[in-house]
Amino acid sequence: MNHILEIIGLVLLLIGGTFLFLGGLGILRMPDTYNRLQTGTKATTLGGMSVILGVGFLEPDWLIKTLVLVIFIALSNPISSHALARANYKRKNYPYLKGGKEYDKYREVYQKEEEEETA
């Protein structure tokens, strides 16, 4: 039984390390802030979760505490990335669009606000 837990833990460690690496590579390669947030958030969330759970499986006494960490990551990581994305749009850093302007539906909200301000 212990042996199986150990193997699961080691596999989780490897998967987690790979995804953390991919997160770093992703924010280096992507063309604009939103896409960097996409890769960064997802990859580091799953990577961090699986490394921490892997440590929990390797030392079964620690499992409960590692679960707390996993829950905290799953709650706080998307909130901070959402706050960053919204802040970035509010600073008028518009996303990189391949297909043209009609692909950005969020712009109309700000256009409305600007019209209200000028009027």
Binding site: F72, L75, S76, I79, H82, A83
Partner: protein, 231 residues
């Protein structure tokens, strides 16, 4: 040319100073059998504290900790008195607008958990790393989260100063009780319990709880005052 002159003069002075400092021995003869052995043996054996650093900070060197807390208190008071000009009315806040629904709802959920984490850190100060100061900082950061998320969240200065004063008075009283009991400030006068239990270490957990409350209240007040100050 001027710079070269200055640098060379500084280098000569520095060399003299360094030589003089190396010749001092800083009372090295007293440190032959320093106090480290005493601390390492006494804290688990006599005081039943698992975290030696805690025992040093709060018990053996507790008077210094009182000084540190006083320095923090003075700094907070000075900053508050400089920044607070008595002109902030309701509705004139420095955090201009609330964050989006996601951030506000998320901080509602996370804020109690962060306060609990701070309480956990300072209650377990004698068993795990951390202690009163760190726990207090975590609690203050929890309040910072609410202040960031809501533009109309406010903390009461009166309540904060009451908590702070009560915590400070408790700290000093426990120290004086130790003086009555054993002759030195913060001498342990309670049962020490069993090593690695929560209720162990005599007065150390109580002192850490008071430090936690005091630091938390002070830093919360500092952040609140600084956030609401605006030119």
């Amino acid at each position: 040319m001027k710079r070269v002159l200055v640098i060379s003069i500084l280098a000569v002075l520095g060399a003299y100073l360094a030589e003089a400092l190396f010749q001092l021995d800083f009372g090295r003869q007293f440190f032959q059998n320093g106090v480290k052995d005493f601390y390492l043996i006494a804290s688990p054996d006599k005081l039943k504290v698992a975290n030696v650093i805690t025992a040093i900070v709060v018990n053996f060197r507790g008077f210094d900790t009182l000084g540190e807390v006083t320095v923090l208190f003075l700094a907070t008071t000075a900053m508050g008195s400089i920044l607070y000009k008595g002109r902030h009315k309701l509705g004139e806040r420095a955090v201009l607008f609330s964050a989006s629904k996601i951030v506000t709802t998320g901080s509602k959920l996370l804020f109690p958990a962060i306060i609990l984490l701070g309480a956990y850190v300072f209650i377990h100060g004698h068993l795990t790393p951390g202690g009163g100061f760190q726990g207090g900082v975590i609690i203050a950061t929890g309040f910072l989260l609410m202040l960031l998320a809501y533009s109309d969240y406010s903390v009461s200065h009166v309540v904060l100063s009451v908590i702070e004063s009560l915590a400070g008075i408790t700290f000093a009283t426990i120290g004086l009780l130790g003086m009555l009991h054993g002759g030195t400030f913060l001498q342990n006068f309670m049962a020490t319990g069993v090593l690695n239990n929560l209720l162990s270490g005599g007065i150390i957990p109580i002192i850490y709880i008071t430090i936690g409350f005091k630091v938390g209240a002070e830093l919360t007040g500092l952040i609140y005052t600084a956030l609401n100050e605006k030119d």
